[in-house]
């Protein structure tokens, strides 16, 4: 049985804004993602050229060598506008908070096998710097890319990476102390194991093409590093040695990667499917940066994987290649 609540109904003159109607094939109700995203960035009649980059307009598609007939072809499969984004993250941070409390209140850090705690600190603490680099790179992509469909997810990604850097800091403080953070930074700056990765990150800071930077950071580096560190090392190797508590502390990163890679894949797919030229450029970037990233991550992986490093790293690269093939770029 249905109850029949009556409301005063007034027939609207229109259902959405004209620009949305033009894009969704007519005047029909639009989602908040659509109204908050489509055409948000100004496109015409700019008044002045940037004094910091006079060769380009304020927003300028030619900052990338990827060419799109319409940059709003890029859509976020998560339909994240600010509200949807913060609500999703608030839920995840609730879980993370509960996990940290659980580990802390039961003293689980103290019950970790010495070797596991040591490995976790050695591996995870320097990664705060990688996340901090990603925070900066994603700010860069947000600032200099074209069209809100492409730029918007990058401010979310940027702040996610700051959040991840902060969670990793808390892991360091929980499993160790302030000195562990200092030691992690020292290793990041000086130890051979980290120099390839640090060079990769610093080289990414001078990549100017925003779509290339998206590939370098969000597709390639994260695409190899997250499965390697959080899935292979933390969830499998450390957990099998009594380190389940570590996996609880990094659940945010595991869930985050599973969610964000859907968006990254969709973005790669749309860029590559646009034209043969785009596909060629994407293939070139993906191949070159994958090889660099895989080489840079190898000594890092060795911290936790020892003899099995080459084998497991090989698997991670294979998985990554398969992922890209599915997104339409065979590498």
């Amino acid at each position: 049985m249905q109850i029949d609540l009556r409301t005063v109904t007034i027939k609207p003159l229109r259902h959405t804004f004209d620009n949305i109607a033009r894009r969704i094939g007519g005047d029909k109700p639009a989602s908040r993602y659509q109204e908050g995203t489509l055409d948000m960035q100004q496109t015409a009649n700019f008044h002045y050229r940037p004094t910091w980059d006079p060769a380009h307009d304020i927003y300028d598609a030619s900052r990338s060598s990827i060419k799109m007939a319409d940059w709003y072809a890029f859509k976020d499969p998560r339909q994240f506008y600010y509200g949807a984004y913060t609500m999703a993250r608030a839920k995840q941070q609730d879980t993370a908070e509960a996990n940290f409390d659980f580990v802390e209140n039961r003293g689980l850090a103290a019950t970790l096998p010495e070797a596991v705690r040591d490995t976790a600190l050695k591996l995870l603490v320097p990664l705060r710097h990688v996340a901090w680099g990603s925070n900066m790179n994603n700010a860069s992509i947000c600032a200099y890319s074209y069209g809100t469909g492409f730029s918007q997810p990058h401010i979310f990604h940027s702040m996610d990476q700051l959040g991840i850097a902060q969670y990793l800091t808390r892991v360091g403080l929980l499993l160790g102390d302030v000195a562990s953070l200092d030691e992690g930074k020292r290793a990041w700056m000086d130890d051979d194991a980290w120099q390839g990765l640090r060079r990769y990150v610093e080289d990414s800071f001078v990549v100017k093409d925003p779509v290339e930077l998206f590939v370098v950071q969000n597709v390639v580096l994260d695409g190899l590093m997250y499965p390697l560190v959080y899935e292979t090392i933390v969830d499998d190797v450390l957990a099998s040695k009594g380190g389940t508590a570590v996996a609880m502390l990094t659940q945010f990163m595991t869930d985050w990667f599973a969610e964000t890679k859907k968006w990254a894949d969709a973005t790669v797919k749309i860029a590559a499917a646009e034209s043969a030229e785009n596909k060629e450029i994407m293939t070139k970037w993906l191949t070159a940066w994958r090889d660099r990233a895989a080489a840079a991550l190898l000594p890092v992986a060795r911290i936790a994987l020892g003899d099995r490093t080459d084998e497991l790293m090989g698997e991670v690269v294979q998985q990554f290649n398969a992922r890209m093939a599915k997104a339409g770029v065979a590498i």
Binding site: I10, P12, R14, F17, N45, Y48, W132, S140, D177
Partner: protein
């Protein structure tokens, strides 16, 4: 490690430090100047980025938690507003024109602020300012989106906002706010922070954002009021950042002081000229008024701003000189602006009207020195003409100021009977200005301001007609062609409120919602 030894507990400040600046390092594989290429050319000298005092200590987990809570509340109010035909609760349908002005003039600026703070955050080598800027960048996209979402329901029932993005990039008067933000984002990162972070967010926010939100609250606009109140704690953070930026730059090097002073002078004036739109909104467009423009300038700039500049005096910063001229204009600004929009109602995306008798009384009480003498007679004449069927629509395009892009409508400081004109010859061309201050801004950076996309020039050059228009054909109607280019519908989006569909529909719908007919 012996885990039984109690760990050193970090204080709030230290804990926040390891969560932000502890993450940073000095690169060695790439040069600093290649990673941060835009940081030197403005001449600002920063010796120690660590001297930055974090104005608020918010880690991302706390940010997500608080902001999500606010978003949940905001969207439930918006849903209730939509379900209950909340648009019919506004004081009267004239109020909707404030919403149109806000959506097409201000909301797109929130978006530019979002991109601008992402750019500034990326470019500052200091982790403190970077985190603060990026958090503000994230807040600003929130503001742009919540405003669009809040106004979305109004757009379903009323005219003038249906293509506001398109309008913002094209409609003549919208080049005033647009060029203001374009000016800021094309400046260097330090000037951007002084222009938007300090001058706009700190000095002028109570004169810009607040009057719209208070106006909404006074006029029964629950949607706009709710996003305004929801943004309040974000704005408080932004104001703190704006002030910290100024203090930080000034404390770093005495050579920074004259540069910053020039920016404060420039951006106070630029901001004030944009506030012309707010002044007329406050005095004419709100059916229920919160306070007059003059009162708000006196409270928020002369009193509060005066205290601020006294505080900044210890750095060698003085009250901007333009404050003197603004004080002379405060009896005239809103009236001169409204007269102009009344004239050009055929080419705008909102309606105008003549104040009724009660409103005239209010205006003469609030502006005893100017209203009855100078503006009331004008309005009475226009009202008489309209009653006779001669509602005047000016179809001749006005000359614009090269800097602020407002038509040359302002009068000489101290002589409200004489229009103020200034001009400069630059590389063989003549440029026109509404004031000494706009002229001085141009003269300091002529190569920048000659680029301005001036709507009137563009119309006369034939750049504001739909593609394929032939202006040489017999009977060509330039206004009709320009409205097509703006995507405004003649007779629905423009003209006097009295003849508007908004007025008619609102009356009919309110009847339908409150009476049994």
């Amino acid at each position: 490690m012996d885990m039984t030894v109690a760990k050193k507990k970090l204080g709030l400040k230290e804990r926040y430090a390891v969560m932000t600046r502890g993450l940073d390092w000095t690169p060695s594989y790439q040069k600093m100047e290649d990673i941060y290429p835009y940081i030197a050319y403005e001449g600002i000298k920063i010796h120690d980025w660590d001297k930055w005092e974090d104005p608020f200590r918010l880690t991302m987990d706390a940010y997500w938690k608080y902001q999500a809570e606010k978003e949940r509340k905001l969207y439930s109010v918006l849903d209730a507003f939509t379900q209950n035909n909340g648009h019919l609760n506004v004081t009267d349908a004239r109020y909707l024109n404030t919403v149109k002005l806000f959506l097409s003039g201000i909301s797109p600026l929130e978006y530019v602020a979002h991109r601008g703070f992402a750019h500034a955050g990326r470019q500052f080598p200091g982790p403190g300012p970077r985190v603060a800027c990026l958090m503000q960048s994230l807040d600003e996209i929130r503001h742009a989106q919540t405003q669009v979402h809040a106004v979305s329901n109004y757009n379903k029932y009323y005219n003038g906002m249906h293509d506001f993005h398109h309008a913002h990039d094209r409609v003549w008067f919208l080049s005033v706010p647009k060029s203001f933000f374009d000016d800021a984002i094309t400046a260097g990162p330090f000037e951007f922070m002084v222009s938007i972070g300090f001058s706009f967010e700190y000095v002028l926010t109570n004169l810009l954002f607040v009057p719209f939100v208070s106006g909404a609250a006074y006029n029964g606009d629950m949607a706009a009021m709710t996003f305004g109140f929801s943004a309040q704690s974000d704005e408080a953070r932004h104001m703190t950042l704006g002030l910290e930026v100024i203090k930080f730059i000034l404390e770093q090097d005495p050579d920074n002081v004259p540069i910053v002073q020039r920016w404060i002078d420039k951006w106070t004036w630029r901001g004030y000229r944009v506030l012309t739109l707010v002044a007329m909104m406050m005095d004419y467009m709100l059916p229920k008024r919160t306070m007059s423009w003059k009162e708000s300038w006196e409270i928020y700039f002369e009193e509060n701003g005066g205290a601020l500049f006294k505080d900044l005096a210890r750095y060698g910063i003085k009250m901007p000189q333009c404050a003197e001229q603004i004080a002379l204009e405060k009896d005239h600004l809103s009236h001169q602006a409204w007269s102009t929009f009344y004239n050009y109602a055929a080419a705008a995306n909102f309606h105008t009207w003549m104040p009724d008798e009660d409103e005239m009384e209010w205006l003469s009480a609030k502006y005893p020195n100017s209203f009855d003498k100078l503006y009331r007679p004008r309005y009475e004449f226009w009202r008489e003409q309209a009653a006779k069927g001669n509602r005047f629509y000016n179809k001749t395009l006005p000359m614009l100021c090269q800097t602020c892009q407002i038509p040359m409508i302002f009068t000489e400081p101290g002589d409200p009977t004489k229009i103020c004109y200034r001009e400069v010859d630059y590389k063989g061309d003549k440029y026109h200005f509404c004031s000494d201050h706009c002229k001085a801004i141009f003269e300091h950076e002529p190569e920048k301001y000659v680029q301005a996309w001036l709507p009137v020039h563009q119309i006369y050059q034939g750049n504001c007609f739909p593609e394929g228009t032939d202006p040489t054909v017999e009977g060509f109607d330039p206004l009709a062609a320009v409205l097509k280019y703006y995507n405004l519908e003649h007779g629905r989006d423009n003209l006097d409120f009295d003849v508007s569909e908004d007025k008619k529909n609102f009356a009919e719908w309110r009847g339908q919602a409150t009476k049994n007919i």
